[in-house]
Structure formats: structure tokens, C-alpha cells
């Protein structure tokens, strides 16, 4: 079996599956919040807080942001390993890839912490 230190779970097959499972979670979440905005025309601060502050939505938002972190990491990893290769960017590819992966991880970490702070302080 081929393993890779930078893939999400060190196994391409389990990354593949995780990307699919998280995709379904994210699709459902997107449907829920877009649906909420569609059926709530006279939106107000109280209604917004009421919606995102309910325990079920707090949990769903947490699940969604964790899913995003896994899904986007796997997706951005695939993109990085596709393009940041010596054949495309020259001999500094490994360094470039490292910097790129680091930026992705930092951004996703910030998203998770930020989302937890937003939704769990309501």
C-alpha cells in the first residue's frame, strides 16, 4: 500500500471515502442554511440568532466546519500534489508544496476556531 505523510489519513482510499462522506454532510448543511434564508424574507437579528443559536444548529454547524476542514484539506492536497511538482514549477517544488500546505492548514485551523467561537457563544 502506498502511504503518504501529507495525505489526510495516510491512505488514499480512506481520504477518498472521507471526502465523499463530508461532501454529503456539507451539501445537506448548505441546503439547510440556504433554505432558511429563502423561507425567512423579513430576516432580523433575533431570528438569525434564534436559528444559529439552537442546539441542533450549533451541533450541525460544528459538524459542518469539521467536515469542511477534512474535505478542503483533502481537496487542496490533491490540487497541491497535482500542480506543485518539479515538472511544473521546477526544483523548488517540495518547498513550495510545503509552504502551500502550511497556508492551507493555518487557514482551515482559523476557520474551525472562528466558527466554534461564533456559533458556541450564541
Amino acid at each position: 500500500m502506498v502511504t503518504n505523510v501529507t495525505s489526510f489519513s495516510r491512505s488514499g482510499l480512506s481520504d477518498f471515502l472521507l471526502q465523499r462522506v463530508t461532501a454529503v454532510v456539507l451539501a445537506l448543511y448548505a441546503l439547510c442554511i440556504i433554505g432558511f434564508f429563502l423561507v425567512t424574507p423579513d430576516l432580523s437579528h433575533a431570528k438569525l440568532v434564534g436559528y444559529f443559536g439552537s442546539t441542533s444548529m450549533q451541533l450541525f454547524s460544528l459538524l459542518a466546519v469539521l467536515s469542511t476542514a477534512a474535505h478542503a484539506w483533502i481537496g487542496m492536497w490533491t490540487i497541491g500534489t497535482d500542480y506543485l511538482r518539479p515538472a511544473h514549477v521546477g526544483s523548488s517544488a517540495t518547498l513550495l508544496r510545503f509552504v502551500y500546505f502550511a497556508l492551507v492548514v493555518i487557514a482551515l485551523f482559523v476557520y474551525v476556531v472562528w466558527a466554534v467561537r461564533i456559533f458556541w457563544s450564541l
Partner: protein
Amino acid sequence: MKTDRPVNLALYTIHFPVTAVASITHRITGVILMVGIGFGLWLLDLALSSEAGYLRASEVMQGGLAKFILWGLLASVIYHVCAGLKHLLLDMHIADSLEGGRIATWAMLVISAVLVVLAGVWVW
């Protein structure tokens, strides 16, 4: 990694079929979403923070540029989800023949385009 390995396919000179265009667009919208989450979280954070923050957020979203960004993000979500769901069908070997794939891709593109236009109507 050896840098002088032979590269067999000159990918950049190959004419892209519709399925390839749909695939690269899925990738591009994925990257847009990766950045767009930042905008979405910022807006939600502001709108949820307080009554004043909510008013500030509504005010921001009156702007033409903000509306355009919102529409662009909605379009990316719509496309990424439609193409993603089609991808999941392929994973289950539904519409994964050459002809079936082309038809499914065109269907997906039409559905996405309609939804993207509707999203535009909703934003403006």
C-alpha cells in the same frame, strides 16, 4: 523526486471535452469556496454579534461589490454541489460511460446555470 522523468501526456495541448471543462470548473469552485468561507464567516460573525452588527452587515450587503461577491460565492456553491453530486453518482457507476457521462455533464451544467441565474435574481 527525479525531475527528469519522462512526461507522457502534453496535457496542455489536448482539446478539452465538456466533461474535462466541468471537472476543472469543479476544482476552481472548490478553491473559491476555500477562500469564500472566510467571507461567509466574517459576515455571519458580524450579523450575529449584536443588533448593531446585524444592521452593519445588512448595510454592507447593499453594496454592489458585496452583492457581486455573494452571488459569485452562491454560484460557486451551486456549481460545486451539482458537480459534486454528479461525481458521487459516477462513483456509484451511474452515468460513467463515455456517452452517459457527456449527457449527465450537460444536464448538470444546465441545472447549475438555471440555479445560478435564480441565485442572481434573489441577490438583486
